[in-house]
């Protein structure tokens, strides 16, 4: 996977206002656009002391909104933060926009948590996908002990949010078969 790290600290240790976030977003989207279609952008907060919600909303939430809308193909975006507190403002803004994203402890690490709004059943499903690697909806439904339709709904939401990726593995009419895999 092609991974690019976008350092927020380039805009300062303490960021900032909406207008500054808006200017920073233009830079971020350039980097995102330059990634290959399956690339991943890690928005790294290392070196940042204060991330105001307004700046985070302009830079990250709005960029994620564009990503989720599909204009950047299968690219994904995660945030990396040395502390939970630093992402509080971001998490609030993502929640306001009904969005969620993975937050890594380190840019190259694999420990993650969710920032923004994601219901517990979805987090449970996401955790399972990270534990299993590639898997199918049927297998997940059996493990989770839920009806297949319910599992499909959860997976659909996770795919929408670019928290997992889905790969078409074949078609047996009338259904299309997919596999799901973590983005890390």
């Amino acid at each position: 996977m092609n991974r690019e790290v976008f350092q927020v600290s380039q805009f300062g240790r303490r960021v900032g206002t909406r207008s500054e976030g808006e200017a920073a977003r233009a830079k971020l989207l350039e980097v995102l656009q330059a990634l290959p279609d399956d690339g991943q952008l890690v928005v790294d907060l290392e070196g940042v002391e204060v991330l105001a919600g307004s700046f985070a909303d302009e830079l990250i939430s709005k960029s994620l909104g564009l990503l989720v809308s599909g204009v950047y193909g299968d690219r994904t975006m995660v945030v990396s933060s040395p502390s939970e507190e630093l992402t509080e403002g971001l998490s609030d803004k993502l929640t306001q926009r009904n969005l969620a994203m993975l937050c890594l402890q380190r840019p190259t690490g694999r420990k993650w948590r969710i920032v923004g709004q994601l219901a517990d059943p979805h987090i449970e499903t996401l955790q399972l996908i990270f534990d299993r690697g590639e898997t199918t909806a049927k297998a997940l439904a059996e493990i989770l002990g839920i009806p297949p339709n319910a599992c499909h709904q959860r997976l659909k939401r996770l795919v929408e949010l670019r928290l997992i990726l889905q790969d078409r593995v074949g078609a047996s009419a009338p259904k299309t078969l997919y596999q799901f895999r973590p983005i890390l």
Binding site: T17, V50, G53, S54, F55, Q96, K111, R113, D131, G133
Partner: protein
Amino acid sequence: MTHPLPAGYTHRPATLDDAERVTQLWNDRTETVRGERPFEPRLIKQRWNHPKFDLKTDSRMVLAPDGSLVGYAHVRDVKDPPVDVFAGYTVRPDHDDADWLWEHLFAWLDKEARRVIPKAPADARIALVAGTESEDKTEQERLESFGFEHERTFHRMKITFADTSLSPPDWPEGITVRGFVRGVDDEALVIATQDAFRDHYGFIEQPIEAELAELRHWLAEDDFDAELWNLACEGEEIAGFCACLAEAPGEPDHGVVDVIGVRPAWHRRGLGRALLHHAFAVFAERGIRGAVLTVDTDNKHGAPTLYEKVGMRRIRSNLTYVKELRPGVNRVMKQGISSRSSRRRRRVRASPSSLLRNAYNPAMQLTIAGIEETLKAVRVEGDTTLDLRSVRDADPFGLVVLDLLMRQQDEQGERLQILRPVHPPTIRWMQAMGLFTRPGLRAPDPDVAEALQPITPIEDEGAIMDLVDRFDARLDQRYTLDDSPRFTLIRFMIELFQNIPQHSNATGSVADAHGIAAMHDFPDGIVLAIADKGIGMRESLSLRGETFESDADALDAIVHRGLSRFVDPGRGAELMRISKMIRSWDGTLAIRTGHALFYHDPTQGGDIYDVAPFPGVQIALVIPHRVFGICESASENGRAERVDEPGEAWFNGADE
């Protein structure tokens, strides 16, 4: 109506000749409760001789058929304004079960206390205040059955010098101590006392003349001892004071630290401790074996801790009970702030005579509410005269308002005549906040106390981060702070400052915003005050197509629902979040726009009130020092204690 007495029992007012038997009655009860007989006739005579106390109307004795005294009560209406009436009462222990006696005395107290109502301000809350010892469960039950509620606890603390090693006083730099000079220092001491106790429980702002009359009454008493009254001064100004008595009731070998106070400008410099050590040294020199004092257990400045640190220990507790006789605006300090008796929305009116009285921000005790109305009321021959002479104190929030008004006056080409405060600390404070730095308003005294950040214009959105850094740097210079709350405050500042260009005007242009902010270190905590004279919240929300019937409804939508003028779902909710965080910190938040004020503090909770109108938005946060890790001892030397951050929960990725 006073409850009738059984046949043979009579009642009458006390006379001075009854001091002995009333004292005996009080001692009989105290001996039953805690085995001591501490009172002497001279103590009750001191109360009875008060110039505002009239034995004929203010006391009642109940006598048994054999002429013995079984009950006594008095009301003391000695404050100006008479909003708290103090009740004294006692019942002979063998009559504890006599419901009729308690009812008779409490009904009489209630009836007599209500005499003050015609004399009190029409909108003021009137309360009857009574005390009891914590061991006297009978009195507590009786008080509660008559509608009193326990409001405060005071500790009696004691030190016996033989049990501890006394330290010599360590006076802060620039402080000297001298004796009080009767007839010379009276007024200065009254001013210093008001300044020191303004945010203490039970404080009532009285006219200087009333305070002086009361002081002179106590100075005329036999137990006044000038050598035991000491003033800590910086230059000619009283920074702190300590008034002692040579004999404690019931403990003639112990002195009493009767009144000790430090003015806010000298807080956290060890002055209180030095005054205590000085008092102990004077007692010891006289052969007095120890000292006692009484302290409010919820004293917001940590006085009980200080007293423990100097070796004092609690020996008993006294409870204060309060019964509300008439609801209204509370003029008395409660829990360290001036509280409201009612959670209902209320309209606060300002009048010229009550200029700068607290109206919308009780936490800061005295603010500049109602200035707009006052200005209208005192216009003289086309000039606008703002009479600040009676102002005793002003907080950044109020100064922000004043600054805005001065700008408006300037822009409208009007001349604003300001009659400056006569209270020296207030002048210095206003100077420190930059109020008198504009031409023609410079005060003559160049000795300016430092504020954390003087009133600062917010005129350039691009400079907001620099401005935030400047505020933070001023705080950082004063204290070493915990990172977490410090960074949270920075986030607050970023959001609040940029609200001015983003939300306060119809165009979104910062040029129309006219915002200002200030920060100060108050005894309550760090105060951040922000204001703009934009279009206000109601008008701002109308830009998203929503109509609100009142400013209060608009404010409610913003503070409680997170609504914003922008339809974009990512916008807004910051004030809601800040409000939540301030609550979790036990801080105070005031947001004022138009006719509405949202006010929240830890004791009163939060509500929206109708207040005098203000065009634009004003916001004030008070964040307690301990939130930043600043403790009393730490703040004395500018260092803060840190708290370990809580652990964080992470999920493991597939490969780890």
